[in-house]
Every structure is written in structure tokens, then in C-alpha cells.
């Protein structure tokens, strides 16, 4: 079976100790992997390496079995298959919600459509449908992103990701700033989205939310401490591993 993402002994140097130290990780289609660890364990760095933001100093990254192209059309095609839900969302405040959702399509749209999207409401049907799936009022489509509440922004960011329709979904602590109900909703949406042929890699620091994931990878000080499948009964069986992961670290 081919892997959607492979990291081979990836090292990213940092101040003092490396931010990632010889990390090896593979994701196959249909796998939903939780990445857990304390703050500063290297979760965000790992996500950044996985989506191509950071080039590792050592080791190899493979996307669908191929190394990242340097530039140009092939790289763009590769990038379009990897979608990231950023911790700080990275939404463009000035665009309307509809333009923001459509920004997820920019990889496959040419120039003319990209310009037209800034002038006219495009693909309203698809956007409305998406808004309903995200439990958002379709009337918000013509509002600027800057007018949205925190929870709405989070969902619009997810909407942009869904419009992109990537095969590999990466999410960097998407649940950190949400209330429990919103967090549960968002998580179930992401888990549903991560079914085959797609895959999901999601970082979080709350071990109580592991239900529904297929695997859990524990990071500590830039190293992979364990890589286990999540047992049916939930996270209870993982308790000793988790304790070891957080031992001595201050919980955020």
C-alpha cells in the first residue's frame, strides 16, 4: 500500500536541542493519526515539515511516495493534495466568506477565475452546501471574515480546507481554543473527512480526545516516544504511555 506521507529520520535543528530529532512517521490512506505531546514537544514543527513549510536539515519527506518538487507546477500540484488547518487559521481578514472558501480552489483555478472570484460570487451552490455542512448560516457568505466570531472563523477555515479537498489533512491544535461542544463537533467533522482514500494527522495536547483515531503518536523533546494503535476501549490502555510522555513537563 502506498503511503500518503512518509517522514524518514527527519531532523530539524533548533536552539540548544533539535526541534525534531530523527523522526520517522508514515501515514496510509484511511488512517487518522493523533499527534500528542506537551507544548514545545515539536508537534507544530512536525506539521510544518509535513506540509512543506519547513525543509528538514536531515532526513527525507515523501508525499505519495515522491520527494517534494522544488518549484513550479508539479510542486503546486503536490501542495494542493495536502491541506492544513492552521493553529492561527491564517484567514485573509478582508475577503468575504465566500471568497475565502473559494480560495481553497486556487490551486486548480487559473488566473481568470481567481480574479473573477474577487469580483463576483462564484460557485454559490457549492459554498452554500458547504456552509450547511459546517452548521453555518449561508447568509454569512457575503460577510467579511473580520466580522465573524471565533467559532465561525474556525469553521470557515475548515471550510476552505474542505473546498481544497486534499488527500492528506493536517491540523495543528485545531481544538485548543474551542469550547467542549465546538471541539467535539469539529473533531468529528475532521475524523469523518479523514476516511479513506484520505488521511488525517492532527496534533493536540488533550489525551482525553483520542477516541475515534486509529493511531496515536507521542512526541517528547522532538522525538517519537511511541506510535500505537488506539484500542477499542478508548485511551485507558494508553495511560502509562501518556504518563511517561508528560512526566516532568509542565502541562499547559
Amino acid at each position: 500500500m502506498s503511503h500518503l506521507l512518509e517522514l524518514e529520520r527527519v531532523t530539524v535543528p533548533g536552539r540548544g536541542r533539535p526541534r525534531l530529532d530523527q523522526v520517522t512517521l508514515r501515514l496510509t490512506a484511511g488512517e487518522r493519526v493523533a499527534l500528542i505531546g506537551a507544548s514545545g514537544a515539536g508537534k507544530s514543527t512536525l506539521i510544518a515539515v509535513a506540509n512543506g513549510l519547513l525543509n528538514p536539515a536531515e532526513g527525507q519527506v515523501l508525499w505519495q511516495g515522491r520527494p517534494p518538487a522544488r518549484q513550479g507546477r508539479r510542486r503546486r500540484l503536490q501542495q494542493s493534495r495536502i491541506g492544513t488547518l492552521w493553529q492561527d487559521l491564517r484567514l485573509v481578514e478582508e475577503l468575504s466568506v465566500q471568497q475565502t472558501l473559494n480560495a481553497g480552489r486556487l490551486a486548480s483555478w487559473g488566473w481568470p477565475r481567481a480574479l473573477l472570484n474577487l469580483l463576483l460570487p462564484l460557485e454559490t451552490g457549492a459554498c452554500r452546501e458547504l456552509m450547511e455542512r459546517l452548521d453555518l448560516d449561508p447568509a454569512l457568505l457575503c460577510q467579511p471574515v473580520s466580522a465573524l466570531s471565533g467559532g465561525q472563523r474556525q469553521r470557515v477555515a475548515l471550510g476552505r480546507l474542505l473546498r481544497q479537498d486534499p488527500q492528506l489533512l493536517l491540523a495543528d491544535e485545531p481544538l485548543a481554543s474551542l469550547d467542549p461542544r465546538l471541539a467535539a463537533d469539529l473533531l468529528s467533522l475532521l475524523l469523518r473527512q479523514g476516511q479513506a482514500p484520505r488521511a488525517l494527522l492532527l496534533s493536540l495536547h488533550r489525551p482525553d480526545l483520542l477516541h475515534g483515531f486509529d493511531r496515536v503518536v507521542g512526541l517528547r523533546q522532538g522525538r517519537v516516544r511511541f506510535d500505537l494503535s488506539v484500542p477499542e476501549g478508548g485511551s485507558a490502555a494508553l495511560a502509562p504511555h501518556l504518563e511517561q510522555l508528560y512526566a516532568g513537563a509542565t502541562r499547559p
Binding site: 503536490q78 501542495q79 492552521w86 490551486a107 474577487l118 476552505r160
Partner: protein, 522 residues
């Protein structure tokens, strides 16, 4: 805003900076009609000479001398304008009068009066002063100091009045004396702004000093114009490269000092000792005084000479009927057209070119070099060059001024793009959007409003500046004014200067309103 109701599609903010570039469409249609067969080979020779500047010692010596005069003039004019501007700026701040004298109307009065020297371009000041006190180095210095001083005064006054007043009220309530309280509350927040702005003014002063030289007030500008007119392109390019080098060094030095003194310290890792910045600043200011004296000495600038007014040519009877018979409507229309065209070219092309060059690093370097050339090149020289292949007129003048301002706006846009939050653009690029669309969607969205607000201010400057391309003819008030000056038709001159002042004040009011609307959040 009435949210969900139907409304006419309105372009997203990201597209706004590009809209002025639409002016290129009619321009490309009109330009072929303006081309005359003549000077393509001349233009080719000029372009080729860029690679083969002259290194003859005689040429270099005279160019270096010219450069020294230009830089010296710029330095003196700049220092005088800062002194003038700071004093007048404090005197035109409402808070200051309110705190010291209990009434703010004198501030408003001073502000109104300052609008007049500000509305007259430094070139006009130079040419007018030339008539009154004759050709001497002080003319160029004064020509820079007066309008720049009034400009600095406006900025300083505005800045002081926009500072929050709660601290001042608190200190006053605690019994502090008025001057002490003002200095304590307004000084520290004002200083970084002032430093940063005065650095920018020095760059402007260098450009102005060069420009004044083009009109015969001495320095490198004079050399550049003479070499251009005698078609000695190799010598011309030696001068241009020299000027480019000076300008880039200056810009680097200014931005370095700005980072060192005017930026908040929290970004630097090493903790600076308390007051170190202040001491450095004070030392720099103290070192500036002997430098200025030495420069003034070197330029043979004698304050006494300013009192020797030369006899004006006999002023004839004013012929107001002839003045009234000037084609005022046409003149004003042409001036406005030139301003609008030049502003649209400058404001619209900077983001467009940046967008086109986005994917390739070398293309961006070329673009930066192109912009640097635009900044350094005095517009009248560009206009003269354009005359090799284009017919004189509004369009030629507009292209010349547009090119110059494109250089200024382009650099600003690039700096702003580099300083803005990279996150949204990065997110788009990592989703496969490509560098251009990432720039357009991710960065221009946030930059559009401040950039266009600066563009509105620039349009204002261009209106004042339109006089400098008057020498390519038929460009409206500017060319009429230069004509009146050379014939010293003082009645016409007075009327034209007045028209310019009124137009500029009107333009300023308009661009202020536009800027306010742009800075309001939706």
C-alpha cells in the same frame, strides 16, 4: 452595511491597488499616435551607454564636485527644514496652545498660513528666489527648506494632536508645569515618528536637490542635464551611476538608523542600557552641527549675501486683461489630467509589476533596480529622454512623473509587503495557489487600504510636482508658468502661482478625505 441584501458586486479589497493600472489600456492605444520616428537610435545609444560609462578623470572630477554640491545642498536644506518644521509644527499643534495659553485658535491660524508655502513646489521656490536674490548656493538650500519645513510642520502638528491626552491631563492634574508636562507626555511618543519621518525627508531632499540642479541651480543635476543635452551619454551614465550609488547608500543608512533608533527595543535580543539610545542620538545631533557648518563653508554659503537683493527687472504695468485671456480652463484641465494619469500609472503599476515578478527572484531584483532608477531620476530628465521618441504633451509629462513616483511607491509597497504578516499568504501558497495568487489574495488584501491611502497622498505631491515637467511643453499650468518666468511676466506669474496654490489646496483637501475614508474600517 446591510449584510445579506442584494448589492452590486464590488471588487474585493485585494484588487483595489490594481484598478488604477487599467489606465494602461487607453495609454497603449494612445501612445503609438504620439511616437515620432526620430530618436530610436538615440534612445538605443543612451541605453547601451549604461554599460559603458565614462571613467575619464576630468569627467569624474567634475561629477564628484557636482555630487558634493548636491549632497551638501540636500543636507543643509534638510536640516533647516527640520528646524523650521519642528518649531512651526509645535506652534501649530492645538494641544500646545490649549495647554500653554488656554486657546487653540492661534494653532489653526498658523496651520492655514503654512498651507501656502507648502503648496508651492520647491522648484518654483527656487526659480522665484533666483529672481530675487540672484544665483547663489543659498537659493537651492532655501528652496528646499521652505516648502519642506512647512510639510514637516504639518506632519509634526498632526502627530502631536493625534497623541492620546490622558497622560497629559493626569500630569497637569498632579500640578506639573505646562511646558514640563507637554515635554514629558508628548516628547517620547513623538521621537520615533519624527526620526523615521526625518530620515524619509532626507531622501526627498536629495531628490529635490538633484532636481533643482537640472534647472540650473548647480550640482549634479546641472551636469546631468548638460550631458544629456549634448548627447554625451557615457558621461551622463557616469553621473547616474554615481547618483544611484549615493542614493542606495543613503537609503540603507537611513533604514539602518531607523531600525536602531526608532524601532521599539523589544525586538532586539540584547538589553540596551537605559538612555543609551538617547545618548547616541544626542551625540549624533551634536556631530551634525559642525558638519553642517563645514558644508555651508564648503558651499561658500554666506548668510550676509541673502540680504543683497538684486534689482528686479523693471516691472511693467500689469496687464490683467492678458492674464485673464490665458486659456485657464485648458491649462487647469491639462494639469489635472497629467496628475491623474501620472498617479494612476504610479499607483497601479507598482502592485501589477510586483505581481508579475512574484514567482522569480531574479525578476524581483530587476524590478527593484528599475524602481531605484525611477526614484533617482529627476522627472524632467526622463521627460527630455522621452522627447527623443514621443511628442511633447500631457502624456509625455505624465509618463515621466509617473515613472519617478512608481519608483517611490514600488519601494514602499515592497517594504510594506515584507513587513506584513506572512501567515495568510503562506497558507495559500502551501495549499498550492502559486506565488502570484498568494501575493494577491494573501498580502494585497491587507495592504490595499494603507497603500492606496499613501497613493492619495502621492497624487497630491504629483499635482505640485507637475510643474517640473513643464519644460516638455503643453502640460498645463506648469509649462505656462515656466514660460512666464523666463519672460518675467510677473502679472501672469502671480496669477499662475495663485492658481497652483488654490489647486493644490483643493487637491490636498480631497486626498485627505479619500485617505480618511480608506483608513476607516468597513
Amino acid at each position: 452595511m446591510n449584510g445579506a441584501s442584494l448589492q452590486l458586486p464590488r471588487p474585493a479589497v485585494a484588487l483595489w491597488p490594481l484598478l488604477p493600472a487599467l489606465v494602461l489600456l487607453p495609454l497603449t492605444l494612445l501612445l503609438p499616435a504620439l511616437v515620432h520616428g526620430g530618436g530610436w537610435d538615440l534612445l538605443g545609444r543612451f541605453a547601451l551607454a549604461a554599460l559603458r560609462p565614462s571613467f575619464e578623470p576630468v569627467v569624474l572630477r567634475s561629477l564628484l564636485q557636482g555630487l558634493a554640491i548636491t549632497v551638501g545642498t540636500a543636507l543643509l536644506g534638510w536640516a533647516a527644514s527640520l528646524l523650521l518644521g519642528l518649531t512651526l509644527g509645535i506652534a501649530s499643534a492645538r494641544v500646545v496652545w490649549q495647554t500653554l495659553a488656554g486657546a487653540s485658535w492661534p494653532a489653526l491660524l498658523i496651520r492655514r498660513l503654512l498651507a501656502i508655502p507648502r503648496a508651492i513646489h520647491e522648484l518654483l521656490w527656487g526659480l522665484l528666489l533666483l529672481q530675487v536674490i540672484g544665483l547663489q548656493p543659498a537659493v537651492a538650500v532655501l528652496a528646499i527648506a521652505l516648502p519642506f519645513g512647512a510639510l514637516v510642520a504639518r506632519v509634526v502638528g498632526d502627530q502631536i494632536d493625534s497623541l492620546p491626552l490622558r497622560n497629559l491631563e493626569a500630569l497637569r492634574a498632579a500640578g506639573a508645569s505646562a511646558p514640563g508636562a507637554l515635554l514629558t507626555c508628548l516628547g517620547p511618543p513623538l521621537l520615533p515618528l519624527l526620526l523615521s519621518y526625518s530620515g524619509y525627508r532626507f531622501e526627498c531632499a536629495l531628490r529635490s536637490a538633484t532636481l533643482l540642479g537640472v534647472f540650473g541651480l548647480g550640482g549634479l543635476g546641472t551636469e546631468l542635464r548638460l550631458t544629456l543635452q549634448s548627447l554625451a551619454f557615457a558621461e551622463l551614465w557616469s553621473g547616474l551611476w554615481l547618483l544611484l550609488l549615493t542614493m542606495l547608500l543613503l537609503e540603507a543608512a537611513v533604514s539602518g538608523l531607523r531600525h536602531r533608533w526608532a524601532m521599539p527595543l523589544r525586538f532586539s535580543a540584547a538589553a540596551a542600557g537605559v538612555g543609551r539610545q538617547g545618548r547616541e542620538l544626542l551625540l549624533a545631533a551634536l556631530a551634525l552641527i559642525p558638519l553642517l557648518v563645514a558644508v555651508a563653508w564648503g558651499l561658500r554659503l554666506h548668510p550676509g549675501q541673502l540680504l543683497h537683493w538684486q534689482g528686479l527687472p523693471p516691472l511693467g504695468q500689469p496687464q490683467w486683461q492678458a492674464v485673464a485671456a490665458l486659456p485657464w480652463f485648458q491649462l487647469i484641465l491639462n494639469t489635472l489630467l497629467l496628475t491623474a494619469l501620472a498617479a494612476a500609472v504610479a499607483v497601479g503599476c507598482a502592485p501589477l509589476l510586483l505581481l508579475l515578478a512574484a514567482p522569480w527572484r531574479p525578476a524581483r531584483w530587476v524590478l527593484q533596480a528599475f524602481w531605484a532608477l525611477g526614484r533617482l531620476w529627476p522627472p524632467p530628465l526622463t521627460a527630455l529622454l522621452l522627447l527623443f521618441v514621443l511628442q511633447p504633451g500631457v502624456l509625455t509629462g505624465a509618463l515621466a512623473i509617473g515613472f519617478h513616483n512608481l519608483g517611490i511607491l514600488g519601494r514602499l509597497l515592497l517594504e510594506a509587503a515584507a513587513a506584513a504578516d506572512a501567515g495568510p499568504a503562506q497558507a495559500l501558497e502551501l495549499a498550492g495557489s502559486g506565488p502570484r495568487l498568494a501575493l494577491l489574495y494573501g498580502r494585497f488584501s491587507g495592504l490595499a487600504r494603507p497603500y492606496l491611502a499613501y497613493g492619495a497622498y502621492r497624487a497630491d505631491v504629483i499635482l505640485r510636482e507637475s510643474v517640473v515637467v513643464g519644460l516638455v511643453g503643453a502640460t498645463g499650468l506648469g509649462s505656462q508658468l515656466l514660460e512666464a518666468l523666463s519672460g518675467f511676466a510677473w502679472d501672469q506669474l502671480a496669477a499662475l502661482v495663485l492658481a497652483y496654490v488654490l489647486l493644490t489646496l483643493l487637491g490636498e483637501a480631497l486626498s485627505d478625505r479619500l485617505r480618511q475614508r480608506l483608513s476607516e474600517p468597513r
